[in-house]
Subunit: 349 residues, 4 copies
């Protein structure tokens, strides 16, 4: 078993890390880090548990320590980071001096030599790590995962990019409340309402997707050769981002072939049998009214992305549309970092 720790353990994403790592076959939580005011308390006493499953017994008695590398036992190999981006900009690199950091924060994404990685999409970016350690003079290293809405989208685009030539992509999201953090969206703001704006979300989707689907050569990522425009909106859903996708290809392709390429998509995590990797990460549904976030977010324990309504776009040549649902706090956050860590554990540690 690999000893792991969680930075930001008392927050909602931190709680999701704990839930997902409980009973993990390879990782054992030994260290929980949080702010000064929680330090020294038992985890159970320091935390208002927000999830609908019970707090795992195994963490209740762990004494929370301050988010400082000196406070972490040297046996710990991997630290999962789930702190707000402004803190992460300083704290994640601090820990990367000594430890492997799998971070869900946006602060360091796409910085030079820092892999932004989805194991099914661009695992080759882990090769940046050598350069990273040299460039920053770190003994540990830092791997990031993309934004929640980007991950779900990119997982469904990867089998398309592998098989077809994309000209352009438009995506319109209907994102869940949990993406904004527990206190992010007041109930007065969203009940009987839609909020048509999520700060920096469109920018992240547009840039991260092209990076993830681009080519990695000689330590550098070259963006994918098409563009993507996003419009991002918040709806009254607890968990599970829904995205409407419009794609123009360079030539007409058969809809059944497109569906089949998605449904049969497998990649490195599936080959390696990584513990959190679904056998088929993209599920394609034929029912006319799926996917729906409440019904489909938990597919493959929240690590699958469900696609439906794959249909020809009658308005434009060589075009088709679909809708996807992915669990934003599992595949889109904590589960993404864990899958990265599983790949690191298999390939590097």
């Amino acid at each position: 078993m690999v000893d792991v720790g969680i930075i930001g353990a008392t927050g909602m994403v931190g709680q999701n890390f704990i839930r997902l790592l409980d009973q993990h076959p390879d990782f054992e939580i030994t260290t929980l880090l949080a702010s000064e005011k929680s330090a020294g308390k038992r985890y159970e006493d320091a935390t208002t548990w927000l999830l609908d499953s019970e707090m795992p017994e195994s963490v209740k008695d762990i004494k929370v320590v301050e988010s400082n590398p000196d406070k972490v036992d040297k046996n710990v190999e991997i630290l999962f980071s789930s702190i707000p981006s402004d803190f992460a900009a300083k704290i994640d690199p601090d820990f990367a001096k000594e430890f492997v950091v799998a971070s869900n924060a946006s602060a360091m994404r796409m910085k030079p030599h820092i892999p932004l990685c989805i194991p099914e999409v661009n695992p080759e970016t882990l090769d940046m790590i050598d350069d990273q350690q040299k460039a920053y003079d770190w003994d540990g290293f830092l791997v990031t995962n993309p934004n929640c809405s980007t991950i779900a989208l990119t997982l469904t685009l990867k089998p398309l990019v592998d098989n077809f030539n994309i000209n352009r992509i438009y995506v319109s999201t209907m994102q869940a409340l949990s993406g904004a953090g527990y206190n992010g969206v007041p109930s007065m703001g969203i009940l009987d309402n839609v909020i048509p704006y999520i700060g920096q979300e469109e920018e992240k989707m547009e840039s991260e997707s092209l990076y993830l689907l681009g080519d990695y050569e000689n330590g550098v990522v070259k963006d994918a050769p098409f563009n993507l425009s996003a419009s991002c909106h918040r709806v009254a859903v607890i968990n599970g981002h829904t995205e409407a996708v419009f794609i123009e290809l360079d030539k007409e392709e058969d809809i059944d072939d497109i569906k089949s390429k998605m449904a049969n998509f497998q990649a490195l995590p599936q080959e390696l049998g990584l513990p959190s990797a679904p056998e088929y990460p993209v599920i394609v549904k034929d029912e006319v009214d799926r996917p729906q976030p409440r019904l489909d977010r938990d597919a493959c324990n929240g690590m699958g992305v469900t696609v439906g309504r794959v249909r020809k776009d009658q308005a434009f040549p060589n075009s088709f549309k679909y809708v996807l649902v992915g669990h934003n706090t599992i595949r889109g956050a904590a589960g993404a970092s864990i899958l990265n860590a599983e790949l690191i554990n298999e390939r590097i540690l």
Copy 2:
């Protein structure tokens, strides 16, 4: 005062007609039509009132009659129709033999010689009426209004079409529950959820928009010379459709100019001062997180469409994006028929 009647008066759209026509300066409700089981009852006794305003006193004692032209007093000049499409296919033409029918039903839209009209967008289609009366041998006539999601979109597109050259449009909707009728969406289906499918909605948006924005010549409409692709979704909002719009023009245009063209848009109903016409039917907001359905649906008593987030699309040349909110049961249904009737009253009766 013009005597008017409502076909389908006990249903939710019928109730909206009543609410909007109460205190109307030119129209007076004298006749309420409904199914056989309601016929003969006082309107108050026949109806489960579903709106959050009170039932107007003026209709409570009206005796409901069966939806049959023979039951309608000859003094009635205009009948508003708000019945399900399969019934409307037979009933609307039946009434058009003798009366002016302003119908919200989809059954007869875009049929030969039947105007599908938004007074701000294509009032010239009312010229079809002469041909219509000859072709069908009617003494009355029938005018229809578009689908709720189409109306809101087309109102915002009209000033663009008038001033710029559009290449392509993508629109992704987040539609309110009331669009499906009172019993249309079970609460078990939509709470903490999105339903990514609305039967026939995408088809209607794609075809009706091009008709509305097309050219009317010699009694025939020629579709607008661009295409539009829609993806339609239901969210947990009572009233007010939200739509994310992506537009590619033929050349770069200034965003402020685009906003100004929308905000200053006025057309025939504004010139004529039709009672239900807002002074400016498109409201442009600068706040980063508007429009929102709960806050903006009632703009101009529900007859305005609110636009926000008008922004350059960084992903594609000559492109921009925006979000709109329109009240689906007012501007998108009952109010649309009423505005058509006001135009007819001013120009034809």
Copy 3:
């Protein structure tokens, strides 16, 4: 393994039976019954699956048969019934002629010789079965479980009745949407709203509770010697009924003692180790803002009832108050029938 069948298998409660019986240690679903229009189809083809977990593989290929005792294989021992009350009034007795019927329907509750049973509360009522078979001349027999809101309440009252003398009870409910069936509550009716009425619910709670907590002697139930008044309301919650309870005892009791009696409550199902019985069916929480339906409905796989805010009632002598949450479609419906069947299987079959 005991072969079991489900009457009303395609409906929402039927689906809950299937979900709960999948992987059951003693029961195996071999027969699925539904209306004529589903008969002859594979279960997967006949059913719109409404739950957020996947349809179990084991039932997909079962051919649905009509709800007629003659269509059921004689190997089947227990039939679970989850059909609307008006159908159940005829169908449940029909099946009881030959089979054991564990019914969630209200039709036959508290009829002479028909046990209305919660295994933790009044298992002795199963002794009625001999008389039942004689009285109705049945080879099988029929056991019913109470109404969803009654079950949750009564489970928490049982340890109180066993230890204290109750003078009076007031209960005010905030009930979940699923209690009304999938199509029971339109979304237009409940979003941003409360519906302060549930047909016959108050009557059921008031009469069933006193029966369940009464004394069983010589084949007859004598109601508990206190009264209970209920006010029942529907709120925008998918699953999980919340109930506010006010109790007056005959003398002052210690709040900690009351909590302890609830938290340590165990009864026959716990002694027998019935598969669906939680070790402690009443969970008592100390957090000031619990129980909450979304966080607590799944306690003990939905078979536990969570109590919180047990506090002295400062307004009245000898009085205290608390709030409870129970899962209405598990402990309050399908799970209730299954626990009855487990008790029958252990004690009678």
Copy 4:
């Protein structure tokens, strides 16, 4: 016209004051007070407007001043206060030295010589003002209104207390989100959920109700001679508190008589024709499923309380039950202070 000001003008209750005072026949807003950071700005620039009606033109250009009595023009006669209780404890008395303060804050309620007043219920408590000015050596004075849930309840109890003898009252609330302030309840906490706890709410309801319905003699209030127990819960409703009420009288009374006493209730504000007073402040509905917060909260512009389901309590002698809905931010907050000010204006100024 009386010049009035609003302390806490940029907050949600402050905005409600502005909305309700716009077009008021006797009061004119001339002064808007807020925190230091808003001071000096135009109101429109200082405020994120949260209501679904537009910000009145008349206040947009008013320059916000700091909440300090020295900053207020001496022409101002009445200040409405809607600030958090901990600030109000200091600020409200500060202003009362010079001005009339109508406060919605709980800080000073039921303090010696400070009237806690609902004009329909206990207008005689305004007689305390002389003593108040002497005791505190103020030139102005301070009048408070009760808690939102208390006001709605007490208005319905007043005609009962006037006509019958009450033995005991139990009330269970389902309260709207706006009662907690705009940021009070995170959406993650309440969607698909109930929160069964509102800090200090039960204590306020239990004590304030007895004060309001008590006897005022010689400058002192003697609590009403019965008790009331409350259990308070938050539900996913934007505005409008729903309350289930159980009442035991000293003898059997006719239900129709009880309804009639409520429906015909009129008091001093009705006699005086105060501008915000509804003709009949308690509306009694006969529909089985009313009142509902979304449909009934706006009755009498939010100043009426709607009662329904008035029914005999079969469980207990001399008992009956009902459900009420009142608008918590209008009749329960801003509107309550305004009605107090209207009474003061009529009787004292």
